[in-house]
């Protein structure tokens, strides 16, 4: 068999195929968040019902203030209406919903894997582009629009053309202080923000094999920033162990059957791909984005590129516009740029492993810039508190907040002021993403922690050496 893992899962879900290559795909899991609360009203107006409410899971994350613990903590207005709207729909249509008071609530892409809603071999959709995250567990997960959401609600299916498959191999070993965020930012820089258009990206190689499940989720989360709707990593022993004891995972003999099937998804060396890239782990350094697309990032030890050296006039203009908006000087180093705020969180980097990394770096130091630490879910928060991580954050002067999307999309009151600059563990540095006129620099949790302590982008690899010597 030469089918790659994506093709194997896809083929298993095709109900029918049209001559133009579009397939009607069966959907195993549908996740929905607060921004889509109007979908249910729209469905009703069309006289439609939810076909399989048991396979629909809802949670509010975009519109949730990171100070709110209960629905009534949210001030009246747009945010409250969205969160309450989703809750009312869940009550009426009888689908799964994690309400504000439930500790299992959190960012939809964090709780899917955490609850065992996401499993290898499944098809999973959500009205959110970062649904690519779920592919880290060896499933087909992808973001869809509102029209497609209604279609899935009504039919539990979706019309899709099978993407081409790109394999990205990352072999070798990562340097100490270099993590999955640096890996994916390097990949995006390599293939560009449009390099994955029309593709699903399968990540593999020893660096990926060695990664924890949380790290793999960080990598797949940003496949969309390379233009690919899908990221996927073949399930292995680690995946199976991770999934096996989750609340919504199958139990008993059903789990045995699941594992038997998941083992057939292990890739073989002869699998065929439409495109392949290789990146060496040793070449990856801590990354910082400088522009307004995730493709515009530099290694921390590299200068900001100079547009005048760019031959393509359109690209040159794009670089100049970004440098102007971000108020940066070409040829200078990111390490000389002072920052106003640090955001640690988002579906990219808000899992327990990310918080442990931050705690390891920050322990014994103080934050000198305003820093939000926003856990990805109530369970991540609980785990972090059980390990005492929150005490380290609070002692350093960081703000330990309630779970949600927070400053990644700035829809919950957590925003930067015009002109302010952040070091952010989120996934998008678009103009105005964290508030009108905001300037976002994407970094790993370790780099964000160092930024919080120093007020600058400093190389985490040198930080431990230099600071430890200076302070002690």
């Amino acid at each position: 068999m030469k089918r790659n893992i994506f093709d194997k899962i896809w083929d298993e879900h095709v109900i029918t195929e049209r001559e133009n290559g579009e397939s009607l795909l069966y959907i195993d899991r549908h996740l929905i968040h607060d921004l889509h609360y109007r979908s249910f009203k729209s469905l009703k107006e069309k006289g439609l019902n939810i076909r399989e409410p048991k396979k629909l899971f809802a949670v509010s994350d975009h519109s949730v203030p990171t100070t709110a613990k209960k629905l009534k903590d949210i001030p009246s207005g747009e945010m409250f209406d969205a969160v309450q709207g989703l809750q009312l729909a869940a009550d009426e249509f009888k689908f799964h919903h994690f309400p504000m008071s439930d500790k299992r609530r959190g960012i939809v892409h964090v709780i899917g894997p955490e609850q065992g809603i996401t499993l290898p071999g499944l098809t999973l959709v959500c009205g959110d582009s970062h649904t690519s995250t779920h592919g880290a567990l060896g499933c087909i997960g992808f973001g869809i629009g509102s029209t497609e959401i209604e279609h899935v609600l009504a039919t539990q299916t979706i019309w899709q053309r099978k993407p081409k498959i790109m394999k990205i191999n990352i072999n070798g070993i990562l340097d100490f202080g270099v993590g999955p965020k640096d890996v994916i930012l390097s990949v995006i820089r390599e293939i560009s923000a449009s390099g994955g258009n029309g593709y699903a990206i399968e990540f593999g190689g020893s660096v990926i094999d060695f990664m924890s499940m949380e790290s793999r989720m960080t990598v797949c989360n940003m496949a969309i920033e390379a233009g690919a709707r899908f990221g996927i990593i073949a399930p292995d022993r680690k995946t199976i162990d991770y999934c096996s004891n989750k609340p919504y995972a199958p139990k008993g003999y059903l789990l045995d059957e699941a594992i038997e099937y998941w083992k057939t998804l292990i890739p073989n060396d002869e699998a065929i791909y439409d495109s392949e890239y290789s990146i060496s782990g040793e070449d990856i350094a801590p990354m910082v984005s400088w522009g307004n697309s995730p493709q515009w990032s530099v290694r921390i030890d590299e200068p900001i590129p100079e547009p005048k050296k760019e031959m393509n006039p359109v690209v040159r203009a794009e670089m100049e516009a970004a440098l102007n908006y971000m108020d940066l000087t070409p040829g200078s180093f990111m390490s000389a740029v002072p920052i106003d705020m640090v955001f640690i969180g988002a579906c990219t980097n808000s899992r327990i492993e990310d918080l442990r990394t931050v705690a390891r770096v920050i322990k014994g130091y103080n934050s000198i810039v305003k820093t939000f630490v926003v856990p990805g879910s109530g369970l991540v928060k609980e785990q972090a508190e059980a390990e005492g991580l929150h005490k380290i954050f609070i002692k350093a002067g960081m703000e330990w907040r309630e779970p949600g999307c927070s400053m990644c999309v700035a829809l919950n009151g957590d925003v930067l002021n015009p002109g302010q600059r952040s070091a952010s563990t989120s996934n998008r540095n678009f103009r105005g993403r964290q508030g009108v006129g905001s300037r976002t620099h994407l970094v790993s949790p370790a780099m964000a922690a160092v930024a919080s302590i120093t007020g600058y982008f400093k190389d985490v690899r040198k930080f431990n050496r230099e600071y430890n010597c200076a302070e002690k």
């Binding site: 298993e12 879900h13 109900i15 029918t16 049209r18 001559e19 133009n20 579009e22 009607l24 069966y26 195993d28 921004l35 069309k46 439609l48 048991k54 396979k55 975009h62 945010m79 209406d81 969205a82 071999g121 009205g127 959110d128 582009s129 973001g143 869809i144 629009g145 509102s146 029209t147 497609e148 209604e150 279609h151 009504a154 039919t155 299916t157 019309w159 053309r161 923000a193 449009s194 258009n197 233009g227 690919a228 709707r229 609340p247 919504y248 199958p250 059903l254 099937y261 697309s293 359109v314 203009a317 794009e318 999309v409 829809l411 998008r428 678009f430 103009r431 105005g432 993403r433 009108v436």
Partner: protein
Amino acid sequence: MLKNKGSNGFKSLSAIAVPIEIPNCDTDQIIPARFLRQPITDPNYRKVLFHDLRFNQDGSETDFVFNHFSFKNGKIFVSDINWGCGSSRENAVMALKANHICVVIAPSFGDIHYNNCIKNGILPIRLSSVICKILRDQLWQSPGAKIQVNLEKQFLISPNKKMYEFNIDSLDKYRLINNFNDLDLTEEFTKEIINFTEIYGQRHRWASITD
């Protein structure tokens, strides 16, 4: 087979075209996130399109191209690579529609946004970077010039009267011309869906949710 809805479908159009010089134009630019909860029935909805590029903080207009007198009534956008990348927000398409934009021409599109366009009657046309640049240059040279688009025959005519053919998937073309809703198409497969669900449920018992 496919039912023909007939009304309001896209066939051809001759309209003012607007050059948008933004490579990797993400959907956060097309509609900033803070407008995502605004109902599309809002009478001021057209203002959300490119809001932060079109308006200063005090509400006055910037010199963004779509504010120019010659381009204000444009119904076609010509842009650069990776138009509509980023967020899956279908509100981006609604913002285009609120401003009567019917066609976007670009070398490449974000995959999710492309689908959202098709499903809402906006024609996304892929042409090479070189041709898109030629079109944009012509539009700057003669602001307010029109581009003629014929979807049935899959060609467009530039302001300089040159014809360019474009490719589009046959079913997407059918969707646009007939203002076709996927739910109607799927309805014809109701039996197949029921059968599949049953067989799939037996083959993969583990994949069902028992709670």
